[in-house]
């Protein structure tokens, strides 16, 4: 992200978006023989390649499900906070990227060097990954609670209008982002890959890697835990009660402030887990503004499924992950993000309440 305020700089080295990095690595997308020229005769800047879409359908689907489950984990944080406070927690993307940095710094602390693939027994690697994930959860969870305390609680005390909350959230997002930038610099951190993806088996000719299985299954497990927590436990009932009617919930003896804190904490913990999976998928992803794009997409996922609805977040995340991959095959690698944003606009236009409908209160078991 270039610094605002300056004049446009002459062409310079461009930092490839970490999310796009995944796309650019794929040689089939870049193969000019595969791409059908559409507009300009020399090099097409947009394709409409149905053949590629069909060819890569299963690979895209598997990849999209794995990547989409990361979206889903982040989207859960948006959806929980929105359900309880009717607030788009714009700074949630920074909570997430703090988790990514938590993972990265744990890797460094454990003695892993950027660039080298560690030669360790699988058991050690798994322990290290779990450790990194726990650190990320602590970092993100604490950051989310701190954010709530310092930024949003004062506004609630003053009964500020909703727009004030959103603007505060934007401000907080910037502050966190720039603090990371000042702390760690604006270049992506070196890549540390603990678990290189290796194909395990194939579905319809598309390889499924160990990483994809791990991420998908673990995300589903996290979702089940979160869903059970919200729907089955006492604290979860408190969250649903506050989401349904804060005043009545307070009268019934629910401590509203505590529920809000717990909501932010749960969102932060999930974002921390997502941070671990993100860095495992995209090892070069630890960069100060890496959360922004993913945050917007995760929010899109939450809206897509129905914001305020936990199952909607999961569904939306998976759909978005898959749809992005299809769009990338169809139009070309550069159009991946455009597909996501267009999807956001289209969904909000035609079904603002999402596929499953909003309301955390009504999403019960």
């Amino acid at each position: 992200m270039p610094a605002g305020g300056g004049r446009p700089t002459p062409p310079q080295e461009r930092v490839i978006s970490p999310v796009l990095g995944l796309a650019v690595l794929d040689p089939a997308v870049l193969d000019p023989a595969v791409l059908a020229p559409l507009v300009a005769p020399s090099e097409p800047w947009i394709n409409f390649d149905v053949g590629l879409l069909v060819d890569r359908f299963w690979a895209n689907t598997i990849n999209g499900l794995a990547y989409g489950s990361i979206y889903a984990l982040v989207a859960l944080g948006y959806t929980l906070v929105y359900g309880v406070l009717q607030l788009i927690n714009f700074a949630h993307s920074e909570i997430f990227i703090l988790g990514v940095f938590g993972v990265y710094l744990t890797f460094l602390a454990l003695g892993f060097e950027p660039g080298a693939i560690p030669d360790l027994p699988l058991g050690f690697i798994i322990v290290d990954l779990i450790l990194a994930g726990l650190v990320a959860m602590v970092v993100s969870g604490l950051a989310a609670v701190l954010l709530e305390r310092t930024a949003y609680r004062p506004l609630r005390r003053r009964r500020a209008p909703r727009l004030a909350f959103l603007i505060t959230a934007i401000g907080a997002s910037f502050v966190l982002q720039q603090l990371i930038r000042i702390w760690r610099g604006s270049n992506p951190e070196g890549t540390i890959r603990l678990l290189p993806p290796t194909p395990v088996f194939e579905i319809f000719g598309a390889p499924v890697t160990n990483l994809q299985i791990l991420i998908f299954v673990a995300s589903l497990a996290m979702f089940v835990v979160a869903d059970t927590f919200v729907n089955r436990t006492r604290l979860g009932r408190g969250i649903r009660a506050v989401a349904q009617d804060p005043d009545t919930a307070t009268l019934m003896g629910v401590n509203r402030e505590r529920v809000i804190t717990i909501t932010f904490l749960v969102g932060g913990l999930l974002a921390g887990v997502a941070g671990l999976f993100y860095l495992m998928t995209i090892p070069q992803g630890a960069v100060y503004n890496g959360g922004f794009l993913l945050g917007i997409k995760a929010f899109t996922a939450a809206v897509l499924g129905g914001i305020g609805n936990l199952r909607g977040a999961l569904l939306g995340g998976l759909i978005l992950g898959v749809a992005e991959n299809y769009g990338q095959s169809l139009f070309g690698g550069d159009w991946r993000d455009v597909v996501a944003f267009v999807l956001l606009v289209v969904v909000l236009m035609f079904r603002p309440t999402g596929i499953l409908g909003e309301s955390l209160a009504r999403s019960r078991a």
């Binding site: 270039p2 305020g5 934007i170 550069d334 159009w335 944003f341």
Partner: protein
Amino acid sequence: MRHRMSQISAFWNARSRVQQWGLLVPVVVFLLWLPVLNPPLITTEPATDFPIALFNAAVLALIAIGLNVVIGQAGLLDLGYVGFFAIGAYTTALLSSPDSLLGVRYPWLVIVPIAMLVTMISGVILGTPTLRLRGDYLAIVTLGFGEIVRLLADNIDPLRGNRGFQNIARPEATYPDGSPVFSQTDVLGFYWLAVCLIVIVLMLMGNLERSRVGRAWIAVREDEDVAELTGVPTYRFKIWAFAIGAAVGGLSGALFAAQVGYVNNQRFDVATSILYLAAVVLGGSGNKVGVIVGAFLVSYIPDRFQFEPQYRFLVFGLALMVLMAFRPQGLLGMRQHLLTYGRQAYRRLFGAGAAVAPTGMTASTRAAGDLPEVKPDDHAGTSPRGGGE
């Protein structure tokens, strides 16, 4: 301090409009003269050329005035305003740069209305589907729009991505000695042009605010449902707000492109949009003078004190948070003259002391109903022409 401010404000409001204009003339002249004076302490040199710093502040002020229509007047949080700025700049580039595939080289003055029209149309295109959404959802959709515009500039080959467009047309004029007023090396002319454009836009906006349109916007901002029920076609007026705000954004984009002479995809990210938002919110959304002050601060302070870019965003992010907590109305609060002859009417109604509605009131206190002027009055017949005459 507050008392002094209210005294100034009371004095100001007691003047008639002609007197106010008369008082403003020296202010504008002073502003025009400022880069030539280049006063010590205020100047940003040697770090940044002072006229360039002032020009940037003026462009940001113009942007803030346009964004204020959308956020301050109509209450629609637009996080993708930089998209309109980009469209204005790119239209200018496409119609005048030799790098453009269109192969035309129109003069700048011809391009400006075209750029404004194009951005206005894009504002309507964005607004038509999205303005049925409210509040936070609208904010996110506009953010998505801003990103889409930037990504299109990245991806579409004829828009040249990072390579950009060189040699964009600038306005043509010469000093008596034959040297050009507007050139790459001398920003002074561009700064004067920007100030003149701000004055013109301010006059037009002032008239718009006091018209039926402006009252409809305020009604939408204060309570959309009530406005709709009282017969304000809210959807149509929201689209108008978007279109007019977009046109001003396009104008500033065209001005900026002409001064820099070079447009590429490196300046139109969401961070810039948030900086615009900071300018409007800092100065006081809904207050034209306020947003100019806010824009000046947002642009001038980093130049004066030589912030690194990352500190710029950090400081204004913090400023947004602190402001929302302690002074959500901004440095200068919102104020409006809803009626053309409002001040005379107030004097009749509340006595000579109450020249105008108190300034700095928040929306909630006004909505509490202690002032008669907040009724979203949209009936042409009851417009108090002659009310005070």
